[in-house]
């Protein structure tokens, strides 16, 4: 099994591609299949975008740390920020049956985070900051 890897990047949207490369490499190294690798990439992308936009309130206001930890059953990813906490339960649920006119161009990020990985756990204001732990199983 490969070892854990950690990447820390300033919270800029231009860094999303670098974060994606890091996560997809870790996912492939953990022997996740192509669909799972893409899923993990997207879940992390959405989480990091939310951190920049909402936890930090904009670009360049804090760091984002991504730790990828291979496990026997798959890949664990811990995303840490030092921004503002939020209540995930207050985020409106995406209606996947909504018509075109009912769709909003924004607000899909949380849906993808919860539906692209197998486990999602938010911990706020820990000694390390806010932590989002994702887990994707290896099939």
């Amino acid at each position: 099994m490969t070892s854990s890897q950690t990447l820390t990047m300033p919270g800029y949207f231009k860094n999303l591609a670098r974060i994606a490369d890091f996560v997809t490499t870790a996912a492939a190294d953990a022997c996740l299949d192509a669909k799972a690798v893409y899923a993990v990439q997207m879940a992390v992308e959405e989480a990091c975008t939310n951190i920049i936009e909402h936890a930090y309130g904009g670009e360049g206001k804090g760091q984002i740390q991504i730790a990828c930890i291979p496990k026997t059953e798959g890949l664990q990813i811990i995303i840490t920020d030092q921004g503002v906490a939020f209540d995930p339960d207050q985020i409106p649920r995406l209606d996947t049956t909504a018509s075109l006119s009912e769709r909003n161009r924004r607000g899909m990020g949380m849906f993808f985070i919860y539906n692209l990985v197998d486990r999602v756990d938010y911990q706020f204001e820990t000694p390390h900051g806010n932590q989002l732990t994702l887990f994707k199983k290896r099939l």
Partner: protein, 111 residues
């Protein structure tokens, strides 16, 4: 990401290449709005070379489709959608909102 556009008689074809994320979506948004701002609402968006699309990109597709379909003046159709992107469209229930074609020829011919 790179966006190439070509104006045909029946519609406009937009070819997107690379990552569509929060940092790059403006390139796609600008290309699509330039078309609709010129009163053209029949657009075929080829996604064959798109390696990744985030919810920001999907939001742009929704917004453009809403613009195009207003007053039945046209629509945005998707062409050569990569498998991973197709799976995400399905997951979010977006697939029924777009016609999807396997080739530009089919898409253009259907306008």
């Amino acid at each position: 990401m790179i966006v190439e556009t070509k104006q045909l008689r029946r519609c406009d074809v937009v070819v997107a290449k690379g990552r569509i994320d929060t940092s790059t979506v403006k390139t796609l948004a600008d290309a699509l709005s330039e078309i609709t701002n010129n009163g053209r609402y029949r657009i075929a968006l080829n996604l064959k070379a798109v390696t990744f699309i985030s919810s920001a990109g999907l939001g742009e597709l929704i917004a453009t489709q809403n613009t195009c379909k207003k007053l039945h003046r046209g629509e945005l159709v998707l062409v050569e959608v990569p498998r991973r992107v197709s799976e995400v469209l399905d997951l979010a229930g977006l697939t029924p909102l777009f016609k999807i074609y396997d080739s530009e020829l089919e898409a253009v011919g259907d306008f």
